[in-house]
């Protein structure tokens, strides 16, 4: 629990108290993941953003992706250790995340290798080539399929945190 635990009734009434009760780390995860999702959506829409924004956004996503992996490293270690237990949870999530790690890393790395705006702007001229171009397109499509699955597999956490952060209240039955 972050922030001051004491909240006034007025705060609670306005939803501020509810927001304060959400741990700082949970808040960071929620908003950072939301920005990652929006960033990926924009970066994938190459025809919408244009090449320059696509490439700079892609480089930014690469850094953000590494940070996302770092923030969830504890989960990676814990789940990897428990993976081969007979009643292990999160096996499907682990498989999806592993596939996403491969697809996204290949996508960003190949994107860097075929960069025609961002890297030349920095004075680096990557060689590119048909293999990396093909890999970039293929892994971008795979990533587009996996990112929403990755998000949706945590929908209960997302709803729970969004409800607390945004002050949504579940409809209660009267009677």
């Amino acid at each position: 629990v972050s922030g001051s635990p004491a909240t006034s009734p007025a705060d609670t009434a306005t939803g501020i108290g509810r927001r304060r009760k959400v741990a700082a780390r949970v808040r960071l995860d929620f908003w950072f993941d939301l920005v990652l999702l929006l960033g990926f959506t924009l970066a994938y829409s190459f025809g919408f953003t244009g090449i320059a924004i696509h490439e700079w956004l892609g480089l930014g996503l690469g850094v953000a992706f590494l940070l996302h992996l770092t923030l969830h490293w504890d989960w990676v270690i814990r789940t990897t250790k428990n993976l081969f237990r007979p009643r292990a949870h999160d096996k499907l999530i682990y498989a999806v995340n592993l596939a996403l790690l491969l697809a996204m890393t290949f996508c960003i790395a190949s994107g860097i290798l075929i960069s025609r705006v961002a890297l030349p702007y920095l004075g680096i001229y990557p060689l590119g080539g048909a293999f990396w171009t093909r890999l970039h397109i293929l892994t971008a499509e795979v990533t587009l399929g996996l990112v929403p699955v990755h998000v949706a597999l945590r929908w209960r956490w997302i709803v729970q945190v969004a409800r607390r952060l945004l002050g949504w209240r579940p409809a209660r039955r009267r009677g």
């Binding site: 705006v117 080539g129 998000v151």
Partner: protein, 122 residues
């Protein structure tokens, strides 16, 4: 310190995957680009109807105004629709799985209660 340790570990994993990709490009590039490479390059160079120009393909249009052009909006809409459809599909499947599990649990509880009542009667 702990964060830096995790960052180093994550960077190592990413580097290993990149090395895997480099090895693939070196030893098995033909598994991915046999005959399609030229076509892909041409598609990228053309950039589609509203697509931007690309460095090294003749003109230096960066497409910075692409996002302001309403004609390009369907591209973003297409991505959003795919994401929403996949999310909705997975959520529906998960909700159905939860309902099925709850129903199984209800049946199991009802049966065990029925059995205990039978045992009490005997």
């Amino acid at each position: 310190m702990r964060f830096l340790r995790h960052l180093a570990a994550a960077a190592l994993v990413v580097a290993a995957v990149v090395l895997l990709g480099l090895a693939w490009a070196h030893f098995g590039a033909s598994t991915l680009v046999s005959g399609v490479g030229h076509q892909v390059q041409q598609e990228l160079a053309a950039g589609g109807t509203h697509g931007p120009g690309i460095y090294g393909f003749g003109h230096a249009e960066l497409g910075l105004g692409s996002m302001l052009d309403p004609a390009n909006l369907p591209v973003l809409r297409h991505t959003v629709v795919i994401e929403i459809a996949v999310i909705a599909g997975v959520v529906i499947l998960d909700v159905m799985r939860l309902w099925a599990r709850r129903a199984d649990r209800r049946d199991w509880l009802a049966q065990s209660q029925y059995r205990s009542e039978d045992d009490a009667d005997e």
